[in-house]
Symmetry: D5
């Protein structure tokens, strides 16, 4: 049962309400916990960039659920492939605080200087998320 | 707009009827034609293994539609990533004839000798599909 | 004096007239001949994709002239770098016939299946132009 | 939208006045800020060597403007290509103080020991500019 | 006489009794000492993951004995090959304390987050055992 | 379910009778057929060198059975690892005719010029068996 | 005694007379024959590009003599280094006929399209001379 | 028992008589046959260059005998190391006819154009001997 | 005159007396000093493992003398080849104290855990000797 | 204008007087300063080993002058090729004090343990000179 890592970008849909984020995060943590999937999530109020890592079947099951969730749309895979070791095993789903998505960090990896996950190559997305790990508060 | 290639495996659901294949293939060709996505499909009456290649956004849109299609389930990405050149540009969606999925060819790339896409590594899946290209009848 | 290769994409401006192509090509050949620059040009009535190769100074001088030409706009470098040997030395500026820019060839290297040079990565652009060499009529 | 890096050399024209530098720098910063382009500029009173990094379209638009600016001439690309991460994201356009262009630093990367950007290979230019980063005063 | 390293996974059989572990370990140490085989053993009450290193003949003789031992079953090689230098030469057979097989460490290298050696690729198994070295108490 | 390849050497035991070979081969073919394992076997009346390829679990189950078979002894793994594609998929267990194990072929890969599988490195064993493929009669 | 290869460019001096070429070539052949040095010479009436290969000491002795010859000047090494095998062992000093130095061949490797050895990188010079081998008449 | 290859150079001593060559060769063949060592020998009346390949112990035993043979002296190893497959398995000790050691072949790999094995690097010696294989008459 | 490194194993002969070691070492130092050969020697009362480094001719001359020395036998080359820089230039012939040849160090690089140089691959022997450097007392 | 590095060895001629060294060094510094060439010089009273680095034309001009200087002879190139960055830019021509050419340093890189530049491979010469940099007194 191969370990894989998947990073995707998506956009909130019209029916997304601000309060949905904590609901999404809560159920993501529950679901990930059940499936031993780990990861990290960036959200700026409009776009998501999320990394999922775990068993190939589990990560795909969760990605299918994510695609079916009507609160966001236009999901686009940035990178996907086998790994020997996880990068985000501390978090069922670590939420990067929105204030950590600073202009100066975005500028390092994107053309616009915005939090703009669709713009990113797979390689830039991986580096961006790794740089975000230190921004997640420890519980 | 990066070119990408995506290969996935899936399984027919209970509500799949034999006549659905040509319907699925027909609408896939239409949809792919509209989005300039090309690819190749293997099906043995139970499992699908499909390759999609085209623009990153388009391939992802189509993959989301595929995941939403209730005629199959348990979709699992085998490999995904950027390419410089397509491998299946001749086909809107080339159907590999079921009789081409022979035991001797399956044995080359799988443990069971069956058409068993979930068993395959990404590298084996790529090689398997390339070997299948000559089996598709030219129109 | 290093040999370099440069590939760019651009778009006709409003003031471009159909008859301008042969004028552009004629003066390009004259200018390239004077500077020992060689290359290849694709044009579909709307977009240009052109490769220039020669001395670093000469290629840059000509590229500056091209940028100043008001008959096209939005020039964008696809790739640039040193080479040991030219690829298009037979042509002062070889024009790929528009009918050679077929859907099936475009589909191999672009997401849209159109002649869409802005979409192309540097690597795809290099491969596309190499594939075009055989389409240029010998004089 | 790919991130790219572009380094070029150029020479002041006859109509360049000493006071132009701060004008050029001011408008470069404004323009770069608007386009989220970042970079670094060396100038010794006669030659410029400048690095631009950002989105492929934006960097090319700005380079076209630079080529059209009559205060300098003979622009020549030293290196150009895709990057995963910027190197000069702290500066809209960081000006290297002229006194930092020392003989001993120039000697490391050029044949003449002068500030002589046209002499440099792409690889030397990249290393030269990286070495210059520490010379730019923080605001 | 080539040095080799072998890592395998196995499962206790029905006839395995809790007290067997120390018996197994004791005789393993004796046997390994006699054959100058060294290694490391993880056991969670149900599954074993063991690394053996030493001469090619000796490691194979011991592995054959292990396969013949009815207290466990379903042995599966994870990785095997020549080495220039041993990794576990301090231990005739180092037992990793069961409490060191934590969820957080398992999660780093497996899909399930359990101690699940059959799930592991050879590369993950090697890294997992290396990470375990510090958990073995020195005598 | 990963595909693996395993090559081992062994020696007949005292209780081996000449007529055992066809019995062994017959049951190997049956067992391999049931487990979709394929391979090739060399035997000179005294030593065996055998390659097994198939699913990781199946190959290991069969190897455990082989180790338990008292008609041979001193089994020693020469090489083992994951593969993307089988090399011997035509044969449930292809028997290399003893007369094909010629001195001149043995000399290419061994120090003694005998059929001496224990002497071989993993790399030599793989090349030796590949060279033997053409010697197996087609049925 | 290491084998080396040396390629240099030079220019005729004012005192060079057309009849000197055959004199130079004749004495080069004699000297090379005595030192077992081999090579190839291109000359267009103004510039020389010559390759010498042989023992490190011998090639250096001959190069020193060449530098002392007042019939040419401005010698510049294009490339120099150890080789395992000579490339021009058929010729004591093979003269490439001047008519073989065609514009189309020069254009492949130089910025000017002229026979311009000083312009060439070491890599281009090596490729240019290799391409010239077929142009030398066999005796 | 690793396969190795050893190439050395040596020189006839004063007590060497012309008739010794066939004696040396005869006993070398006998000895090599007994030890399953194979190889190739070049001799020009003054210098030997010989390749021995076989088991590590056997090749070293024979090399020790060679060093003790007073008919030649100044033996010098050119290259030595493990191999997966022999290069000269057809010959107990293939003698390259002296007339095959031509000036033109020597010139390809030596500075002097002579048969001069002491001059050769290990890499040149290996290539030289491989080129000599076709010169040995088949019996 | 190429620098080479040679490592060999050997065994004391029947006529070896304990007092011979310091004699051997003394004459080795004298001889090495005269030939500018350096190295390191391990001896456990029964086997030698020695590294010689220096000019190709000198190292070979000394190795020939070593082979002719009747106080030891069965010399076997472990590794031999060109080097850019010596590893043991501090010692004319550094003697590793016998008590430094510990079981735990031997176990790292050999199958038997003994000081067993014949068992070692060339790569293991190089690493073993490097690890021994710190054990030699400085004078 | 490519940066290159050149290292050569030479020998004093009969007419060399001890006082010539400072004359040579003084004019070398002047000449190098004028041509922006930098480097390092070792001299033991008999042999020179010198590194020159700078523009390709300038380094070659100076090397030609050196060859014409009758105070030394037998100049032999050890290595030559393009560089991105100089290694000796602090010195117009840094003189390594003769007492820094110690036996122990020479032994590291040469067969004789002498200062013997002709013996050195290009790779050893580069490492030797780099090791010498710290021996040059700062002014």
């Amino acid at each position: 049962m191969d370990l894989v890592q998947l990073i995707y970008a998506s956009t909130v849909s019209e029916q997304f309400k601000e309060s949905d984020l904590s609901v999404i995060l809560g159920s993501a943590k529950q679901r990930n916990n059940a499936e031993s999937v780990t990861g990290i999530l960036c959200f700026n109020g409009k776009n998501f960039m999320q990394c999922l890592e775990g068993g190939r079947r589990q990560v795909n099951t969760i990605y299918a659920n994510i695609l079916a969730d009507e609160r966001h749309q236009d999901a686009e895979l940035l990178t996907y492939g086998p790994i020997d070791k996880r990068s985000y095993s501390q978090w069922e789903m670590g939420l990067v605080p929105q204030e950590a998505l600073t202009h100066s960090l975005n500028l390092l990896y994107t053309a616009s200087g915005q939090f703009a996950p669709y713009e990113m190559s797979g390689a830039s997305a991986e580096q961006y998320l790794r740089a975000m790990r230190t921004a997640i508060p420890l519980l």
